[in-house]
Symmetry: D3
Subunit: 258 residues, 6 copies
């Protein structure tokens, strides 16, 4: 029998058995998006998938295939759609995917689901898709599906951030392709990180509004790195990952009574 | 510099450079679907991805992230949606994903795209999404995008099929979780194949119509394997893969003048 | 009282009585599409309608108004959208029509429905519409609607095809505006067939993929006739029609216990 | 060569030639809807189609296949959706059909189109579909498409109505399955009219509002005939048809400079 | 405690109490649309809101926030979309708003709802949205929601119109920015009416059809006033308002058994 | 001539003149949502409208009618949809409204637009609608439309917040129906504020994730007030409003070169 936390590496009989036994399913929500000159386009796929696989081991869960295309990138959070390699979906499309996957998981008997988001702009449409999916399930007579939805980065402890940022944590808003994501990539996929290409044209100096079309002088670093990635290490990535895995597992156990 | 045919393992500058140089992009279209008791749910992801990576090496192309959720499975081609682990999207959702990805690839400067389908029921909505995407690109003033769309299994040579099926090729229609797919999985992901679980409750004896809801006596093997998987080997998988890679590469070179 | 198998030639009281008595409803799915220089644009409307009217007489059924606009035509199956007179709908539009008609037939008390498709490209979206319609009916508390869906051409007997093609049946794939359709039109609407215009620029020599935009040298005959129409006769049409009517009626009686 | 005003009875070369010569296309918009115990469900298909065929002869036009399923019926104009045999589409679906057909006619070179509506509730969504279709055509670079949209019954002369209703014309609002429609059906399809079943439970006494769900005492005659059909004759139908054909043809000639 | 008929001026506890006590909710449907040189763009917001507030007082109801953007304006009823300041929604968008608001009101416990329309072109899509909303409520297990839908102008008494138009009422069709609307605005918002700017380029002389794109010589007054506004007074507005309030209140009491 | 910053209080000629002169249009994005026992449901309408009217005076702009129905409320930001009186739209509906309004403003000649958001959950769908609208405008040949999008609360100065929260600003996340919103309402609509009803069951103690369905023990105060409203005064509201008006006006002048 195949031993895997990846739902799609099981056969249908194994999947059915695991679901019948109450295994929670984790669905990582990613994107294909620029992450500066030193990181690949798959950061937002790699990180939530890595978190989910570790959490699944902790809680006896299964990881569904990651959504590799996310909702459109905005300059103030991800650099924006004009960066080559940022390949996004409309919010409506993204929400429909979530709706369909939830409807089908529910129909298959899954009653515990966790959406683990790894791309800021997925937040809104993942809520929308979740609401649409739950609405359909209720109309199909399924009332006992429970779903959690979270951004994995919200599970870092304050103390960890203080350790990582001895001069003070600048806030999650500019943490795109910066120290947190770079450290986590060094831990998970060091073969895809090129620390020598870490830029120093940041941090971003955005005004408190969006502008369409994007002005030349909007405060966006040309590299696409919104803050600072210097000093990233795999060890820092492990510190963060520990927080994520421990605390997300805890939350899942609490909410799903495991 | 990262050496990969996977688009999402490049950084945005590398991606931009490759696109500017005219690299074709291959987009594998998969699904998460039952494939009998001996194969995992990810067969339709693994096979077109495997084909694309080999073709990309041949033609200097890049492989975009595979769509892991496909269009709804039908009993006569994939066993149907009632099998646990078959997690599908509505056709409209699937078409919108294709539309959005094409629009964004076009906007990013990609002018040569190949949709490589690995799941029968994706055929209709991938055509729809392609038509919608091209329509949008034209309206955005992009007229020179060229797109090919194919089912990889159509590229096996008659002679190869005759070799693999000395008693006569039963036709592609029932080739779900059967000899071709099992052999290809033995080649690509032997760790996920359990040959000892190959069932013998086939082949399917479908009538020439669909019925909703699915009748008990529809002729569908309980295992979900539509034909016969016995005799599958990695070598057979390699024979097939050779055909696919050689002939798809040839078609791409011809159409894209490479 | 009006004596007709056409649902729309009854008044509402007659319709209600027939439905209450369990009459199955047949819905022909057609298209307005080029069929070469010797056939009119309405071939895909005329043929499934003709089949349905004959089957309805056999099984005591009613024929709903034919959908005269089908899903977009592809070069490899119908010549493609660039042919003048090919007037198609988006797949989403087509699926919504099917969904709405099924929802309303179900609401009206119809419990036995047969979708009889006469245009290849309608296959995918008719499945989609059927799934959407059945989903809505279940949510409206209607669980006992039964629907069959078929392509009429799948009901020709092997023996009949052998008789019609003494040199071997080339396969249904290229049978667009060719011997089968032309013979059936000669039987049903000889006034609309001009045998002297039958072209000889075929058969099509397509590669095993789609290409957008369509290349000049794609192997598509300029006439729009994919194979060969020479030798078509009304008698051959009757042979085929006999098969269709007999075997579709049989299938309906079996599935609907008539 | 086939001599027909029906677009779909031509082959694609004839269609192309007619379009190139500037022939206007008429698209009848119908519905499948109850029309009392004396008329069939296809009144709203038969009448606008009959008008279009006669107008097409006058102006050298072509009649596209009639839309046989219309937008949902309301009690105050058509009796409502609860009548058996009233099979309607959602307004959005109906509008998308119009949009798609216009887009494709425009793409095919048609520059003069007339939507001839025969079902009151199609009015709103036919305007919507027309606006959506024209919007798409402009974005596809087609700016010279001209479209007229009309309800055929608006073309009766005051004098004709005075002749038909010597006691005063009660207004078009209740003219559902009543004298005008019955007389026109007697002219066009007398085989489908059963004058002996003309009811006398009207006229309707609606309040000036809609109510959902429909109350028992809403003033709707049980027969579904909103006013009075007694006294209908084929001659009256011809008087009306003369008006429609003459005056619609005149309008078309004026607007399209024919 | 806040004393207001405006639903949105209550707090959630007051709203909950009023709904629990059976208060009907009135939803005014407006638009932002040209109304000649003498009236502001908000006529279609001001009038149905004014009607609703007065009716709500009569029947103990609550007025929900007015929809300020309506469905697209047509030349024959509102002058058309080409007038500056006419800011409309697609019919589909408008219907979705109605659907969502109804679904949420129903979910909140509201069981008596009145849609009070003040913009002609909202008629079709408000019916569509109402049907979609009721459909969803039924699927959510809510079967006892009752909804009325009306155009306020249909509640003027014949006698009142005869008083206002001593030379005969020209019909509601051209009553855009004309005597009725101007008189009502003089009553409700005299500060926004400039009687000295009342134009005299009317009345409109439309043909009985729509034409896209709009021809120069379509009979549309340049001012956007379809008939005549001269002679409008606040007193006439009050006469009309009395009719609307009295008779709409009566209808509501009857239908909702108040 | 009417003197108003409200676009809808002008007539179409005045609107046209203002637009031709380059006046920016401000569109307030609100919602109808619970705001505790001391505030009305219209807080998210009143505040951005109040901000816009003041900014419009500063920059010579026009205020378009506020969107009174917003995107669905979430427990962690607005209490959630289960609160009576929270009447929301689906994200897709909300985005379509924005798209349509932008398309029409663009078509009318407006080239400077500011979306001023007053409801947290509108953020995602307002971006989506803006992107869709701009996409349509480009396809309609309009490339010079400039749009800003902002949340008004992001324009408070740090110093102001320090003054208002001498014990430290707890962060904007819980500022729902709390000190900032209550103070602003005391300034703008004191008649709708009932300070004696300010609750003390907060602040919220949410976990860092969403849960569907909402658990009983989620940390949400029963009052719907997420933080603390005690100490709110109109003076504090004015301090905030000054910041908003001054700094938003500044940003508009900079971006639109006024």
């Amino acid at each position: 029998m195949v031993d895997s936390v990846r739902l799609d590496e099981l056969n249908w009989l194994e999947f059915a058995a695991r679901v019948a036994a109450g295994a929670p399913v984790l669905l990582p929500l990613g994107s294909t998006e620029q992450h500066g000159p030193h990181l690949p386009l798959n950061v937002d796929v790699t990180l939530p998938t890595g978190v989910c696989e570790r959490v699944a081991k902790e809680v006896g869960g299964l990881v569904a295939p990651t959504l590799a295309y996310g909702c459109k990138s905005m300059p103030r959070s991800g650099g924006g759609e004009h960066f080559p390699g940022t390949l996004s979906l409309d919010a409506h499309t993204f929400a429909l995917i979530i709706r369909d996957v939830i409807r089908n998981l529910g129909r298959q008997g899954v009653r515990r689901l966790v959406l683990v988001n790894g791309h800021y702009e997925n937040m809104g449409p993942s809520i929308e898709g979740l609401d649409l999916g739950m609405r359909e399930l209720r109309r199909d007579g399924i009332y006992d599906m429970e779903v959690m939805r979270l951004e994995y980065w919200d599970f870092a402890q304050r103390a960890t951030l203080d350790t990582l940022f001895p001069d003070g944590f600048p806030g999650i808003d500019l943490e795109h392709a910066s120290l947190l994501e770079t450290s986590l990539m060094l831990m998970l996929r060091p073969d895809l990180v090129e620390m020598e290409k870490v830029p120093d044209d940041g941090p971003a100096t955005f005004p408190p509004y969006d502008k369409f079309p994007l002005p030349e002088d909007f405060g966006l670093p040309h590299s696409g790195v919104l803050a600072v990635a210097t000093g990233s290490t795999a060890e820092k990535g492990e510190l963060l990952m520990d927080d994520y895995v421990t605390r997300i597992s805890e939350a899942i156990r609490k909410e799903f009574r495991l």
